[in-house]
Amino acid sequence: MATPTEAEVTPATRELVLDLHRRMVRIRRFEESSGKLVETGEMPGFLHLYVGQEAVASGVMSVLTDADQITSTHRGHGHAIAKGAEFRPMFAELYAKTTGYCKGRGGSMHIVDMNRGMLGANAIVGGGIPIAIGAGFASQYRGDGTVAVSFFGDGATNIGAFHESVNMAAVWDLPVIFVIENNGYAEFTSQERHMKLTDIAERASSYGIPGVIVDGMDALAVRQVALEAVDRAKRGEGPTLIEAKTYRFFDHQGIKGMRIPYRDPAEVEAWKSRDAIRLIEAIGVERGLASAEEFERIWAEVEDEINDGIEFARNSPDPDPADILDDVYTV
């Protein structure tokens, strides 16, 4: 296992810093906004918010193209947004409208964007991992130079589908990157209560593939390990298991506080003080790559995009129950 040092990290250009920042802010604001909209009852369903983990999706996605494929989880908005999903069909989906990414059929846990290689959120823990190796298999089969990335949590690494998939990808040298977003908890169960390891990247050794640990609050560091894993995959050397150490700022679900005190408030605060967005803003300013005003502008632009998305969703039509049987089958 290797943790890339500062020195090895991709040069933080102005363009890159602003790109990563925008991806992260888009996620942050989308999540905060939709959390509130569900809270007030304006939107149905329930939400697993990605706030806190933005650097992981953003860092990885910054090295992918629309032709590269990803699979996601119940906590999938961040992956979709970092992959370039638009707010209008995202909000419309959460609002259960026909203009949504799933025409209102899927909701939060099934957000998809096939045009951008986002193969879907997934409400079954571990459910997306086997699918990702299939996407990677297609890359290899076609020799099209694309890769597949599967995102999942620390908790998901205990389920059988994880094990079977990583092993099969390893045996066939599939161009797949497995990204563990280790936020320390599976719902309300802390990592030390669901496994005996501290570093889940160690599990890579069970499959004879590299395991890499990265600071999941540092988008540049995440980008760097993703880049190396993608290169490796494209060279035909097979999968990499990346463990990004990160944290979710909200509860398992929704934006309310914790119903039970399963996390130490000091722990929460410590992680919040390492907020990935503030971190990249600091790097940008310190290194003279971008000004505070530029970052502010991104926040403001995203705000406009949010408002536009919500407006669009509100004004979109409901699905028609007469169409309820459409799209069960391809005919």
Binding site: P44, G45, F46, A96, K97, C102, G104, R105, G106, G107, M109, H110, N122, A123, I124, V125, G126, G127, G155, A156, N158, I159, G160, A161, A186, E187, F188, T189, R193, H194, M195, R259, I260, Y262, D318, P319, P321, I324, L325, V328
Partner: protein, 328 residues
């Protein structure tokens, strides 16, 4: 015996408490069942009352959760293994149907598997296709399993107690949308026997067999129909494996008409089995085909407007009964 009004989930919870109190061999495992008390609070207070030896949070590993239950049950303990959402049966299915259910038979009777699986089923919460299913037809098709679907607070308590006391592998499917529904529940511990339907309302003109959450909807429909002088008998099978065919058939022989209502998709649902049995056993008594009202053949949609159209309700039950009565 003192009886209180209680919610469905509190009644279930009381059953769990009392079953654990009466038998030290009963233990509970599952994801977030201990510290959190289960995501639906089905298991609130059990950790405090019985300690972390008997109430345990697991990793996310449903095969291991159920399999651990099978092995512990084969050794004589009485595990309660929680599956959280019924939709997750797919990741544990082998342990349920090939191991738990078949062990006794394959082994020539040498072992019993007093395992209880708890889970929560049903739509209506905009939880979409992978968190809203009703899969009782799968489970009822498995020899060796027993399957309960409590539709009242009374049964939520009585069926979990009955399941835990049963020497066979049982599955108790709570209804997510009914958790807050209130009803009378006796204080002391009691078991509802498996395979005994309830006649929830007596009537003479038609029989509705209502599965799980469809029971309150059927009762509402019956009330409406009564206003028009139509007398409907409503039966709650309570368990679909074993199925109390006798109570159902006796009723249909009296009313001459039967409608089965469930939330699962109609094709291959438990209603098919019930309909097949009714026409086998009450053929000469039927004045109309046995009717079914169930979900259309699609996954559960997210949009409330679609989901409402998807799950049968009192209005559509009423309609179906009227349609059935038109025929003679």
């Amino acid at each position: 015996m003192t009886t209180r009004e209680m919610t469905y989930v509190k009644a279930f919870n009381e059953g769990m408490h009392q079953a654990m109190a009466e038998d030290p061999d009963v233990f509970l495992i599952g994801e977030d069942v201990a510290g959190y008390g289960g995501v639906f609070h089905m298991f609130d207070g059990l950790l405090d009352a019985y300690g972390d030896k008997r109430v345990k949070d697991t990793p996310i590993a449903e095969q291991a959760i159920i399999g651990l239950g099978v092995g512990a049950a084969a050794r004589g303990l009485r595990p309660v293994c929680d599956l959280m959402f019924m939709d997750f049966v797919g990741v544990a299915m082998d342990q349920i149907f090939n191991q738990a259910a078949k062990m006794k038979y394959m082994f020539g009777g040498a072992v019993s598997v007093p395992l209880t699986i708890t889970t929560a089923g049903g739509a209506g919460m905009s939880a979409a296709a992978q968190h809203s299913q009703s899969l009782e037809a799968w489970l009822a098709h498995v020899p060796g399993l027993k399957v309960a679907l409590p539709a009242t607070p009374y049964d939520a308590k009585g069926l979990i107690v009955g399941a835990i006391r049963d020497d066979n592998p049982t599955i108790v499917v709570l209804q997510k949308k009914m958790l807050g529904v209130k009803g009378p529940v006796p204080e002391e511990i009691y078991a509802v026997p498996f395979g005994e339907a309830t006649i929830s309302r007596e009537g003479t003109d038609a029989t509705i067999i209502a599965i799980a959450r469809m029971l309150p909807e059927a009762l509402k429909a019956a009330e409406k129909l009564a206003a028009d002088g139509i007398s409907v008998e409503v039966i709650d099978p309570r368990t679909v494996q074993p199925l109390d065919t006798e109570t159902i058939v006796t009723s249909v022989r009296k009313t001459n008409r039967a409608l089965i209502v469930h939330e699962a998709v109609q094709f291959g649902g438990i209603g098919a089995e019930i309909a097949a049995q009714i026409q086998e056993e009450a053929f000469d008594y039927l004045d109309a085909p046995v009717a079914r009202l169930a979900a259309p053949f699609a996954p559960v949609p997210y949009a409330p407007v679609l989901e409402n159209a998807y799950v049968p309700d009192a209005a559509r039950i009423e309609q179906s009964v009227r349609r059935m009565l038109e025929r003679n």
